[in-house]
């Protein structure tokens, strides 16, 4: 009787072990399923982009419809200008608000700001685009580089706040105490000592935010709009890589498709190089594994 019981238990144990192993194998499979399409997208874009990439592509202006050749010089410059405008808006607001959250606030108000930051970062970028349209494009009476930059700047703000807050909290309290003990006033301590200590982390966070907005397309569709010509003025529509890729990808011309792939490669490289730099320099800070 006892022997039979034991055998029965053994069977059940074996069943449980097999079940456990099967599920764990399934988990590994899921991991592979996740990584394969992502890698595929990456390598496909890189390979197709590489085929059509040339020096002319970076240095030449787009040609009119029907003529082959030409490049995206204006879009590359436009993207850089848009990044510049959005940095001017997003970085100071983000850092100063982040300082407030990390250094001064406590209790309910700080939680409210954190919550608002989270909500802001979750708003679809196209909604931010509409907002920029209503506050800049409508009063100015036309699409402009400025409105695009403002939209992207607003998208940057929550990321910069969060990263500033986290980095400032990593700075040990003893550093603040030491500085204050030397008779340095609090705001100087915060700016010159605490912020400086956390600066490398904050800069990498800002770089990540820039990498994110560099690829944003939706809010630019009706703010910066896109431009087939070279433009650096802030009150006119301006070209940008994502918009140019979008317009070329939708077009029926093979030549434009090829250029869109090359543009996609440049965009992917921009995002990846920034990401790689960030991860390389802050390995210990971001991967807490």
């Amino acid at each position: 009787m006892a022997e039979k019981d034991l055998l029965e238990k053994n069977k059940y144990l074996r069943y449980r072990k097999t079940k456990s192993n099967l599920i764990l194998i399934l988990c590994v499979l899921m991991a592979i399923i996740t990584i394969v399409p992502l890698l595929y997208i990456f390598f496909y874009t890189t390979a197709s982009g590489f085929k059509f990439l040339s020096l002319d592509f970076i240095t030449e202006m787009p040609k009119p419809v029907g003529e082959t050749g030409g490049g995206m010089y204006n879009a590359i410059v436009g993207t850089l200008i848009l990044i510049g405008i959005s940095s001017v808006i997003g970085i100071p607001i983000g850092i100063l608000a982040g300082i407030y959250v990390a250094e001064y606030s406590g209790g309910l108000f700080s939680n409210i700001i954190k919550f608002v930051t989270d909500v802001l970062s979750g708003i679809p970028s196209i909604v931010i685009g509409i907002f920029a349209y209503t506050i800049v494009v409508m009063p100015m009476g036309g699409f402009s580089a400025l409105s695009g930059g403002i939209a992207l700047g607003i998208i940057m703000i929550p990321t910069v706040i969060r990263i500033t807050e986290e980095m400032l909290k990593l700075v040990p309290q003893s550093i603040r105490e030491a500085s204050l003990a030397l008779g340095i006033s609090r705001w100087k301590t915060t700016l010159n000592i605490v912020l400086k200590t956390a600066m490398s982390g904050i800069i990498t966070g800002i770089l990540l935010a820039i990498a994110r907005i560099a690829g944003e397309t939706a809010p630019l569709l009706f703010t910066a709009f896109g431009n087939q010509f070279f433009s650096t003025s802030l009150d006119e529509p301006i070209a940008s890589l994502p918009i140019q890729i979008y317009n070329y990808a939708k077009s029926p011309y093979t030549d434009w498709h090829e250029q869109a792939w090359a543009g996609a490669l440049i965009l992917i490289l921009l995002v990846f190089v920034i990401n790689l730099i960030v991860r390389f320099f802050t390995k210990s800070k971001f991967t807490n594994s």
Binding site: A31, L39, I41, G122, I245, Y246
Partner: protein
Amino acid sequence: MFKRTLKSSATVIQLSLNSIKLLETPEKIIRSKKNLSDIIFENITLLFACIVIFLLLDIIYEMFLHSVLSREAFGFGFIFSSDWDPVKDKFGALAFIYGTVVSSLIALIIALPVSIGVAIFLSELAPKSIRTVFSFLIEILAAIPSIIFGFWGLYVLVPYMRESVQPFLNSILGWIPLFTGTNIGTGMFTAGVILAIMIIPIISAISRDVIRAIPTAQREAAYALGATRWEAIRMALLNAKSGILGATVLGFGRAVGETMAVTMVIGNRAEISLGLFNSAYSMASVIANEFAEASQALHISALIEVGLILFVVTFIINSLARLLIYSVTRKYETR
């Protein structure tokens, strides 16, 4: 040499102990030390923090203000009508709401099991080296701009769907009305697949963090009671379930707001049809497609109202998700 180090470190420890005694609440002392310039600086940062709150309120206000024409003309009927005809000045958002919800649901159905698998793999199974590399790869690949997902989707995924996946699904599951439709590759199903690829990294990363917040002692206890590996993990999953739900809801929110990738593969037809292979339309896509070209005030106003609905929906979804995630991580944070 060694002795000296030992001695000096002992002094340091002694000193720091003293200082702890002296400064019982260092926070308090720091806070009490203020002069005029400090007050000015604090208020400047406060001002910038308030800008953030003002920004959110202003977004709500502007969208409310500029959708007034459409709200007055259609009222709540806007949400329940699927009539979208800019030429005849008829606007109703139901088809877009339907498209957004269904494509996001498809994405969620595909992404959820995969993401939980990845989260278990990352938090419990993979050795540290693989875990680091894998997390790194996923994070960096998830940073690919959505326009590139859309571009790839349009030229690689759409033909593949048209030639292989959709005919296959139709032949097996065609008796369910969901797996039917004009098989042109673009459509609701393809949009769902692209969205799934895009939200898996988000859901799995947050789920991994939540699962890892569950104390190891609990797993050890499970093993001690004779649990198999999966049974121990299952306990952790059960404890983390509200956090995983939060991650899922957050992923859903991302899918709802995703614009470019969806716009490029969903087919852009304002129709409600049961067959998932048919073309559809989403709220974000219609704004992306029509906003720049809309010229009549009512058309613009209707599009802004679509944006307002999108905003309200994502606002609710995100608030809910954050609360769920906080609930798990807070509970186990004080270890």
